[in-house]
């Protein structure tokens, strides 16, 4: 007859991590099949329990693992960053151009906000006698012409001349 009523608990009891309860001990005392199984399991489990622990420093293992993981995580995140840069590059170029236009626009004098009275005398004395509304009319008539004038002196590259990378760098400078 095959009896497996103690089979599942035998390894743990043989290793000494668990113990038979009285009922199990009584069963083992009369069941020949369980005794035969115990005769196989107990010596092997006992021998492994008595085996010498390996001479390892688990703190050193852990710190070694973490150091290696830190390095590999760094490489991983760099790769992900590079992939993201490739994908975002055209958008970043557009954003940089938009930011530059806004920056230039904010630097240009606002003809409406400026007070005529606080201005320094101009090179054209006739303008000094004009009222604010008259100056606005005059500026409005000049704006289309002003837009056609090159804002940057020659020798300085235009936005269209910049590469994506240069545009990104420029954007980073503008955004701080």
């Amino acid at each position: 007859m095959i009896c497996e009523s103690l089979s599942d608990r035998m390894p743990a009891v043989a290793k000494g991590t668990e113990a038979w309860d009285p009922e199990e001990a009584e069963h083992l005392a009369w069941c020949q099949d369980c005794q035969a199984e115990w005769a196989v399991i107990a010596p092997i489990a006992l021998a492994s329990a008595a085996a010498v622990d390996p001479d390892v420093d688990l703190d050193r293992v852990a710190s070694g693992v973490l150091a290696r993981l830190g390095t590999s995580r760094g490489v991983l995140s760099l790769n992900r960053f590079s992939a993201a840069r490739r994908w975002y590059r055209p958008l970043a170029g557009l954003a940089a151009a938009a930011a530059l236009v806004l920056a230039f626009a904010s630097l240009r004098p606002d003809p409406i906000a400026d007070d005529v009275a606080t201005r320094e005398p101009t090179a054209i004395p006739e303008l000094d006698v004009l009222f604010e509304s008259e100056l606005e009319l005059l500026l409005a008539s000049l704006t289309p012409v002003a837009d056609e004038i090159e804002l940057l002196p020659s020798g300085i590259p235009r936005l269209g001349d910049l590469t994506d990378v240069e545009l990104e760098l420029l954007l980073e400078t503008v955004e701080g």
Partner: protein, 177 residues
């Protein structure tokens, strides 16, 4: 994170940047894994390196574990595969030669001789068992793993692991009788 936390909680904490959680996992499983590596023939001087490689791979590929099976069983699977690679490269298991001082004095030579013969028959039969039966038996009896851990370690189911174990025990009992 406390030392009482379950493995999946510690892994989640480590993934959130808690390095102490990873250290706890190494301490929780390192000793048993080290004994397993030794029992499977790893040279003692290689055990620490093999342990580090096991945990490194486990953490590095923790996404592929996804909580299926036990973390301990998964560590045993990685360690077992590393050991197989190591044996393949080294051309087989490492055997330690016994010196005279390692031999046990026989108080009752006759009964001990009989016990030795039985032990030899069991060991011989153990070596003849199909691979899965042998590995299940060793993980269960020598390492004290439960069927869930064994199933993960050997990429099978707990039910199948239990069946393999009982087949192995039956054959070993026959060999011993």
């Amino acid at each position: 994170m406390t030392a009482l936390a379950e493995d999946p909680q510690l892994i989640a904490a480590w993934r959130d940047g808690d390095q102490a959680a990873a250290t706890m996992l190494v301490h929780r499983h390192g000793r048993l894994l080290g004994r397993y590596l030794l029992s499977r023939g790893a040279p003692p001087s290689d055990v620490e390196d093999l342990l580090q490689e096991t945990f490194f791979r486990a953490f590095q590929h923790v996404e592929s574990w996804r909580g299926e099976g036990t973390f301990r069983g998964w560590l045993f699977r990685i360690a077992g595969n590393l050991l197989k690679d190591s044996h393949r490269r080294g051309g087989g298991r490492h055997f330690v030669e016994l010196s005279d001082s390692d031999r046990i004095d026989l108080a009752d030579p006759e009964s001990d001789l009989a016990a030795d013969e039985t032990a030899d028959r069991i060991q011989a039969e153990l070596a003849r068992l199909p691979r899965l039966q042998r590995e299940v038996f060793c993980l269960r009896v020598e390492q004290g793993l439960g069927y869930a851990d064994i199933a993960t370690a050997l990429d099978t189911t707990p039910g199948a692991a239990r069946v393999h174990y009982h087949h192995a025990v039956r054959r070993l009992k026959e060999a011993a009788s």
